[in-house]
Symmetry: none
Subunit: 202 residues, 4 copies
């Protein structure tokens, strides 16, 4: 055949892709590196050559998942426009992302389960790296008088945790294909709570 073998980058991507699916479907510990190699069509040694060991391979999949997520959310977070609308939009995009890639949720759970404590959670690293963008949105909304004076940090954490809880529990309950619908009430409650004129001081 013409392209008998993929080039290095393509092969790495193929391994990552397959590993991701296997880790999500079978769990980290139940996934045999050999099975990934067989599925991709490379030797087991190649995987070790590319990724060093099983743990590193796994982490690479977790990172790729988060990179993927960020690549979808960043454009929204950095877009001009009504901050309230953007907050809603990014929240929905977050849910839609996991709805389209439910195995990423499993990856996050697997990571925590297997490596709890030994290294910082990839999910939280990415949250930390990007939360300032979300906080900027809140600041902007506050400056425009669209939302009440709130502790931006606490509210960001609360919202992030709410979305996380919704996505994870939704997937656990087999509603991964409808995470958006599941999240809408939670998002609306959040927006309701932060907006002005509700006569309540938080």
């Amino acid at each position: 055949m013409a392209t008998k073998s993929l080039d290095k980058a393509q092969k790495e991507q193929a391994i990552l892709q397959t590993a991701s699916l296997f880790f999500a479907r079978d769990g980290y510990r139940n996934t045999d590196v050999q099975a990934i190699a067989d599925e991709v069509g490379v030797g087991k040694g190649t995987i070790y050559r590319y990724f060093g060991n099983k743990e590193a391979l796994f982490r690479a999949t977790a990172n790729a998942a988060m990179e993927h997520l960020v690549s979808e959310l960043r454009p929204i977070l950095t877009r001009e426009g009504d901050p309230i609308a953007l907050i809603k939009e990014v929240a929905l995009a977050y849910c839609r992302f996991y709805s389209q890639h439910p195995h990423y949720v499993e990856i996050l759970i697997q990571e925590r389960a297997e490596f709890r404590g030994s290294i910082p959670d990839t999910h939280l690293i990415y949250r930390a790296k990007n939360r300032s963008l979300f906080e900027d949105l809140l600041q902007r909304a506050m400056a425009l008088g669209l939302i009440r004076k709130l502790d931006v940090n606490s509210v960001t954490t609360a919202f992030a945790n709410t979305l996380y809880g919704t996505v994870v529990c939704g997937c656990l309950q087999g509603q991964s294909d409808d995470l958006v619908a599941l999240a809408v009430p939670a998002i609306d409650l959040f927006l309701t709570a932060i907006q002005v004129d509700n006569g309540v001081t938080l």
Copy 2:
């Protein structure tokens, strides 16, 4: 000596307790049943006699954790009084519980990681069994005109997911000893959102 050895129930509890800590600290797959036996001071065979196999032992710890949680929340959920106050109280109790028993969070994560799909998640079974009590509180509050007309089911789910996300992410970030403080903003946002006179229609 008087109490040379524990009675059957005590021994079972001791095994469950130790298993719980080991599973939480090392993960399900990284925990050697022998290590649990050694720590408890019984033979490995005794553990197998009591629980059948490693998986059953693990599930027993997950169940015990949930029973424990329920035993703390039920009295609040079934208490008379201001529903809004009770909602807040039960949410705080939920967080306090996990703050005091952070390893239970790990147990839930481990369960999902290892047995995803093969059996319904213990956490969700318990949530399902007890959610009607929470919904009753919302209904009561609604009847009293304390909160807006909302879809009780959706709101319950949203709130449960929020608390779950807060607890899990809090533990992941090493803030397990202060889950209550972490949750307060989220709880207040929720209460703000559902209460009347905020001029917003959900």
Copy 3:
């Protein structure tokens, strides 16, 4: 109940009986002493009190089987009458015995399989103890001129091995309920061969 528990001898017999069936059905190594105890309805400790250990229990079943066999064959071997007829009769009785108690065949195989070499085979001990009775029959027949001059020892061994082979292979092939029919041709060939007037010198 009146006879709440069996007396010592009865209990020993019951254990032996059950052990025999279990060892034959499941094999020595696959038989759990606990299972025997449960089936008999006694404590496991009782079995150990009566028989010492699993191996001794097994040997006791092998011995009982052989005692049983001998108790059926002896009367024939020691009976007066036509030696040729008695030879045939004892051979048929041997086969009939195993046809009626096919699990004894398994016991013999199990014994050999598990204890090969470590102790003399029960089956062969009994054969040795009783072969002189068979040889007496041959001597008698020879003295009466009914059979040719043969080496009694060799012929006895040859016949015993033939019957053994027939019984064992018959059972292995699932023809344990018809060992007699299977043996008749072999027995007749044997009788034909040893009798006079066949013009052949062995």
Copy 4:
């Protein structure tokens, strides 16, 4: 070194050979796969790679034994010449084979003891596959008027069982190095019985 390690087929043979000896000497259940690996000088994993599991390894030894036996008997069974002489020759070869490889007898016993019923006995499978060759010899002898009119099937079974009984009992009695001498009387009795001019109708 030139032949640093054995090639695949050689290694498989070495494992089979060693396994065969261990299973025969210690019994199936008492043989530790690790011990075989150590003796052969390979890792335990290698054995599992080659044979899958302990049972399959065992069955492979049983099959190899039978293939070996057949490879020795077939040339005789298919040779031209005096059928009576060939019958005697093949019988002697059968005994000589087990005399030279007495551990194969143990393998057959072990197989039956451990797997009774769960799978057809290897020994009997091979007997079934090759008995027609022996029956052909009998037919030929009958056609030539060398032996009486007999039921070929019954006689074949009788003879096979006789040889089996002789070999097994011979080995059990520690006479494995002289099975041929042990069998000669039985073989001669058989040949005497089937040949013509003995004035008896079976």
